[in-house]
């Protein structure tokens, strides 16, 4: 699950920003919700059939 990979990355390296590519709308929603709960804001761009999410520490 993409959100599990994001969870691991945020926990292990605690980045100020993180860029994530996903191809599923539900994954976008899951990551956005999880990132929000961890104090990150999320910017979403649609690139054809994929989505680029930029997580930034608030």
């Amino acid at each position: 699950m993409p959100v599990v990979m994001v969870q691991k990355e945020l926990r292990s390296s605690k980045p100020d920003t993180l860029e994530v590519m996903v191809d599923d709308r539900c994954a976008v929603e899951n990551i956005t919700r999880f990132a929000g709960s961890q104090g990150y804001s999320v910017k979403t761009e649609t690139l054809g059939t994929e989505y680029r999410l930029t997580l930034s520490k608030q």
């Binding site: 969870q7 929603e29 899951n30 919700r33 709960s37 059939t49």
Partner: protein
Amino acid sequence: MKRENLLVLLAGICTGLAALALTMLGNPANMGFCIACFERDIAGAVGLHSAAKVQYVRPEIIGLVLGSAVTALIAGEWKARSGSSPALRFVLGAFAMIGALAFLGCPLRMVIRLGGGDLNAVVGLIGFALGIFIGTRFVRRGFTLQRSYPARRTDGAVLPIIMLGLLVLFVAAPAIFRLSTEGPGSKHAPFFLALAIALVIGALAQRSRLCMVGGLRDTMMFGDAHLLWGFAAIFVTVLVGNLILHKFSLGFGAQPVAHSSHLWNLLGMTLCGWACVLLGGCPLRQLILAGEGNGDCAVTVLGMIVGAALAHNFALAGNPDSVNEAGELVVGGISMAGKIAVLLGLAVVLAVSVFNSRLGAKKNG
């Protein structure tokens, strides 16, 4: 309250109301909705099994898939995708079904049974939560069925077209199907009314991502309880409705289409919950995703239908409790073959979990 929580709450309340209405209109007690039972009935109607009491073309399944498909098309979310371990999904779907039928209900019916006072569903819920917990341990270790890929529209449209075909055939030539004249399969709400209700629930489930597995899984993994709102809303709505309608009956014994063989209720739902975590969603969610163009979920649904046929051809499914002529409770349960099938299912799900977690760990470095 956030909009997404409101949406899932609304979907849960409507699903609960729909379950109550469908039961009042003729569906079996505590079975307004049951994805496992209704796919089993469809398997029987097309002759995949010959258990005469559970054969009917359930419009609820057709409506859920088509409601999701139309809503996803309107919302611009219909996307043909496939290629994520379809053969494994078929097998996991079949075993999820065998587990659910050992318990006599999918996770959605488990919640509906809880709302009817059936305490066997509490045992089922404990097993279900245990299965989800075990599954999430493997997901954390990198379990994956690999990614899916964009597919041709024809691939994504397979299940909606099958459902549309089933609808047309049943309306045009009902005599070609095997239809129960007694037992749960003979009890059903009027066809088009049930279809209309299911279309609405399919649409709401598509928009809200309602999932009986997702709520517990996300709470365990991320502390994200938003999908649990749907789970809770169905339970409370059905509970209140049953209390108002004087249909609430608290207890273990002789509950409608249920048995009180506790160990196998528990293990059946452990198998179902675990397999569903690996599949990424409950049987309802598989139908909704298949409606959205997900070919892998279509394969899962077909696996579930075949699993249901196997469950009845080899007498693996649970037998309900009954009351004999002397008024004594005769506890139902599952056969030795059913017990072996559930244990085999747990072994298969464990093997898939272990092997595909190693794969995920290697891939992720």
